[in-house]
Amino acid sequence: MKILFRIIPVLTFVTLLVLAPSVIGQSEFDWRRYEGTQLRGIMIQGPWINSAEPFIEEFEELTGISVDLEILPEAQAWDKIRVEMQANNEDLDLFYNQTSRFGNEFVDNGWVVMLNDLINDPSLTNPDFNWDTDFPDVVRDGVAFDGQFIGIPTDRSLGPMLFYRKDILEEYGVEVPQTMEELGQAARELWEASGNSIPGFVARGQGAAATSAFSYVMHEFGGLWEDAEGNPTLTSPAVLEALEWYGSILRESGSIGSTAFAFPETTNEFLTGNAAFTIELGVNPSNVANPEVSNVAGLVGYSVIPLGPGGEEARYANPCPPLRPFALSINPFSPDQEAAWLFIQYITGFEPQLAYLQSGRVAARQSPWDSEAFSDSLTDDARDYWAAQSISSGFCPGTRGFAPPSIKDTGRARDIIGQVIETAIIGGDIDAAAALAQEELEMLRTREQAGN
């Protein structure tokens, strides 16, 4: 008994000693060490910043750091970020990074801070950040370039989906399409049956912006951006077949005007009730239910993208190449990189990520997914959406991204491919346009390899 009395205090002391660092670490993490600093960032208009904005004020109160974010439309934001990088601007501290598009280019040009040192510095990284345990491997791999992390992801990329109007399909007795062929047929039927008043299918058709939506279709047809050696494969039979399908469905089901449609126009077209089907990932249960932007609340059905001629095989590659997500990155020319790092940690924390998830997007962090707050907040609509999304986000085609990954100048590559997509929609000579684009992509790649 005496021994027990002696052991208990010792055990208690040892336990306290073991637990102390983590407890002290949590309570003592110094959020206010950069009090008075002013941060400036460039963000992209869209669901992420919409859900993150309310947390910025909380961060400012917690840290005493003031944050000024310029929120711009996608294309304008990319242009501005790149101009400021090229000018080595010290005034910009952080930015929203589409790593699939700019990862290679930014790494190559030294336009992004590698975050490994910051993540591994316990004095600068909140112990609750849990980079190794709360961000799944697939997410961390997505922002890793040669083992260096170029940003903290806000997203896991959405898998390809089909959105359809339940009321229209019911009215005209059309089943939810399971294959690409059925989708094409249904879209044309609806356009005709409605007396050319309801476009059957709407999707992006405006040049470079269209390559993302087209890539989902291309993969279903078994097409890839490039072969194993990194040579572009725009003239492969599968890609040509996908181009023909994509162009003709838009042209023949009432959406030929989509050559002017990028992300906002396509989303708006579907949400305002002007199409029966879309594959535009800007649509989600949150904006469908929002009466300020949607006329179709309660009328939208969710499904995985219909299966194409490429079959199940085209959907899964092994090993799966990394999927590059949206992420928050730090400008290497900024003098306030550590303060920017505090902001990034906070804004990718549990609460902001939960809010993002609840807005219908695929949050990068795992803990919000496992939380009761998330499961309790799901509407029936949202459950349908997530059921389909959980399947399609597991798809893994052989090359990912919205242009051949081996080409660093993704912007120019997308512009070149966009011309072929527009040709397909307008009903022009796809073979000739694809051959020309193939040649241009090869030249671009050769130039890049030569270092020009």
Partner: protein
């Protein structure tokens, strides 16, 4: 006294000279220098390439097509705006109740923001929901694709340009009409001239200066039009609306070929200058 005569005048003009140097000469010299450089990932580190970009221009189909498109766009828009503006000026050069209000309404397109106007027209051009196709169908005509077809996109944007530009022409012509002496008109009428003759042989020659000035301004404006085109089509579909300005912008700010983009804009600047000098020469020789 000597100081006053020699230095004082220079002091008086120096603010103007400073403003000119800051906002005109500096950017111009920067642009010229930029067009002789190849920028990599940084505008701080570049290599001088001399006139390499200029030598590449004739072999670049996007440049050649863009040049023709710019000239067609400018020519068509200016002719349209001159005709419409002149007709509007004649219609509003009368006194009837509410004419002042009508004049104000007519100049609204000129004072509205180009981006806002372009967005409004973009909605109207929508092939499915746009009011323009609704109007076409209501009079039994086929729907048009407007901005969605490479065959009609440039013409569609020219409609917007004419809509925005004609009030400016109207204002200048109206001012010309208002300041026109009545004697030549009266004597022509006494000599038996009909309305058409009066317009062609008396009024039009007297309006020559006003028309030439309005046309020059509009030529310059339309050659370097950017916001309307960018908002409506971004140069598409299939680059059917890609003018030199749009191509220069895309090169500079989307593909980061700052040097080549600058060379294209220098060429555009030269075209604008040559046309302006030529036009003013014609005016001086009284051919316009």
């Amino acid at each position: 006294m000597k100081f006053q005569r020699r230095v004082f005048p220079w002091l008086m003009v120096s603010p103007t000279f400073l403003v000119l140097a800051l906002f005109l000469i500096y950017p111009l010299v920067s642009l010229l220098l930029m067009s002789t450089r190849d920028y990599g990932s940084s505008i701080v580190n570049y290599t001088d390439v001399g006139l390499q970009w200029y030598r590449m221009l004739p072999d670049d189909p996007r440049f050649v097509n863009g040049l023709w498109r710019t000239l067609i766009y400018s020519g068509g828009s200016v002719i349209g705006a001159m005709l419409l503006g002149t007709i509007m000026a004649f219609l509003l050069n009368r006194n009837y109740p509410g004419v002042a209000a009508v004049r104000t309404l007519f100049i609204l397109p000129m004072i509205s923001m180009p981006v806002a106007s372009a967005l409004m027209w973009g909605t109207m051009f929508n092939p499915n929901q746009g009011i323009l196709n609704y109007l076409l169908e209501s009079v039994g005509l086929e729907r048009s694709l407007w901005l969605a077809s490479p065959n009609t996109a440039l013409a569609s944007i020219m409609i917007v340009e004419i809509w925005m530009s004609s009030p400016f022409v109207m204002l200048i012509v109206l001012a010309g009409l208002r300041s026109m002496p009545s004697e030549p008109l009266e004597s022509a009428q006494i000599d038996g001239a009909n309305k058409l003759q009066l317009f062609l042989y008396v009024m039009l020659p007297m309006l020559r200066a006003a028309l030439a000035t309005a046309a020059l301004f509009k030529i310059i404006d339309t050659l370097k039009q950017f916001p309307i085109i960018w908002v409506l089509t971004k140069g598409g579909p299939l680059r059917a609306t890609e003018t030199l300005y749009v191509y220069g912008y895309a090169l500079g700010f989307q593909f980061f070929d700052l040097g080549y983009g600058a060379a294209i804009l220098v060429v555009l600047l030269l075209i604008v200058m040559i046309i302006s000098v030529f036009w003013m020469g014609l005016r001086q020789r009284q051919w316009l």
